[in-house]
Symmetry: C2
Subunit: 208 residues, 2 copies
């Protein structure tokens, strides 16, 4: 057995393995304002403050969001693909979501390790604040593994993945929007789990 050329795979969560959660929340509640993402409000703090304010206006509690999140199904083929990746090498989901919302949902993916942020609620169960693990969290996770001398492959699709994709030993875009496709010529581009698997197989010298 040779040493594989991949030591660790880190991946974004939403749009790669599950649908975008806030868009599902907007669809279920009918509150269009909640469908805004970092594409609409680029500043994440501004976006989250807006979301929390909107939830409060509509008297929606964390438990309401959890109920919607729990009804979300993984994208077709996601469970099988994640199971395969985990049989190849250590796999982590690195996400700017919140453990209170996506924790139970991750179980539907087979409970891969999920590195993400946390929410704060009041006694009534309303979301009052959010806590990022750190600024530039995704990039810092990848950097931490690299500092430990692991070669890291990153799978992502959107702007907030670009920093971790660019410092990765191998960066793979999965179903990226057109503007990211055009602006990131150095990254591998895949548009299906089949293509993603083929790209990973071509990197790993040993798929056990």
């Amino acid at each position: 057995m040779q040493v594989p050329a991949i030591d660790i795979i880190c991946s974004d969560l939403e749009s790669i393995w599950i649908p975008e959660i806030w868009i599902e929340v907007a669809r279920h509640t009918g509150i269009q304002a909640l469908s805004k993402t970092t594409r609409d409000i680029k500043n994440y703090d501004e976006l989250m403050t807006f979301r929390i304010k909107t939830l409060k206006q509509h008297k929606l509690k964390l438990s309401d969001i959890q109920q919607i999140a729990n009804s979300i199904k993984p994208l077709p083929g996601a469970v099988k693909m994640i199971s395969w990746i985990r049989s190849v090498c250590p796999f982590f989901i690195v996400s700017d979501t919140f453990i209170e919302i996506v924790g139970p949902l991750a179980k539907k993916l087979g409970s891969p390790p999920l590195l993400c942020h946390t929410l704060e609620t009041d006694e009534q169960g309303c979301i009052t604040n959010y806590h990022l693990r750190s600024k530039n969290f995704k990039r810092k996770v990848v950097q931490a593994f690299q500092d430990l001398n692991f070669r890291v492959t990153v799978i992502g699709d959107s702007y907030n993945d670009l920093h971790m994709l660019k410092i990765a030993d191998q960066g793979i875009l999965f179903n990226p929007p057109k503007d990211i496709q055009n602006s990131s010529p150095g990254l591998g581009q895949t548009f299906s789990y089949k293509e993603l698997k083929a790209t990973l197989e071509s990197t790993a010298s040993t798929i056990q």
Copy 2:
């Protein structure tokens, strides 16, 4: 749902979830010298150099060691316990073993993410060298996650776990030898998976 008081659990591998590999190798090959551990030769570099030299003397290849490792079974109850831990929070094994030897064995544990070192072989498949990810690898892994603002629980049993156990937010000894029991009064001590589960449950404010 409250935020759990544990964000991540890191655990040693040998003697916690599987038997000591080199002792199994000594038993299968009948080469008593291979049963030496860090308890006999405290300097790890000296120990590994001695092991590699001994394997060469007996013309044992990596594939021979892999064959023995593949025959090792997880300790009774290990698979179920790991499955439970992974449903609670991100879990990974942090070990001073080598991916080429323990990779397939980890599959028997359900393929938890395994952070460990690598071996170098020559064209004949003989082990010629080993590569540690870094010095103080275990402690550095725990520190890296703490630097990312995760609260880390560590499970370990032996001297080379003490550094990561001591910097952990929660350090739990599992079946430690008597001298470690006596010299580490600040660490939780457990002697069965049932006790370990109870200790973890008492820390996590939410077991989903």
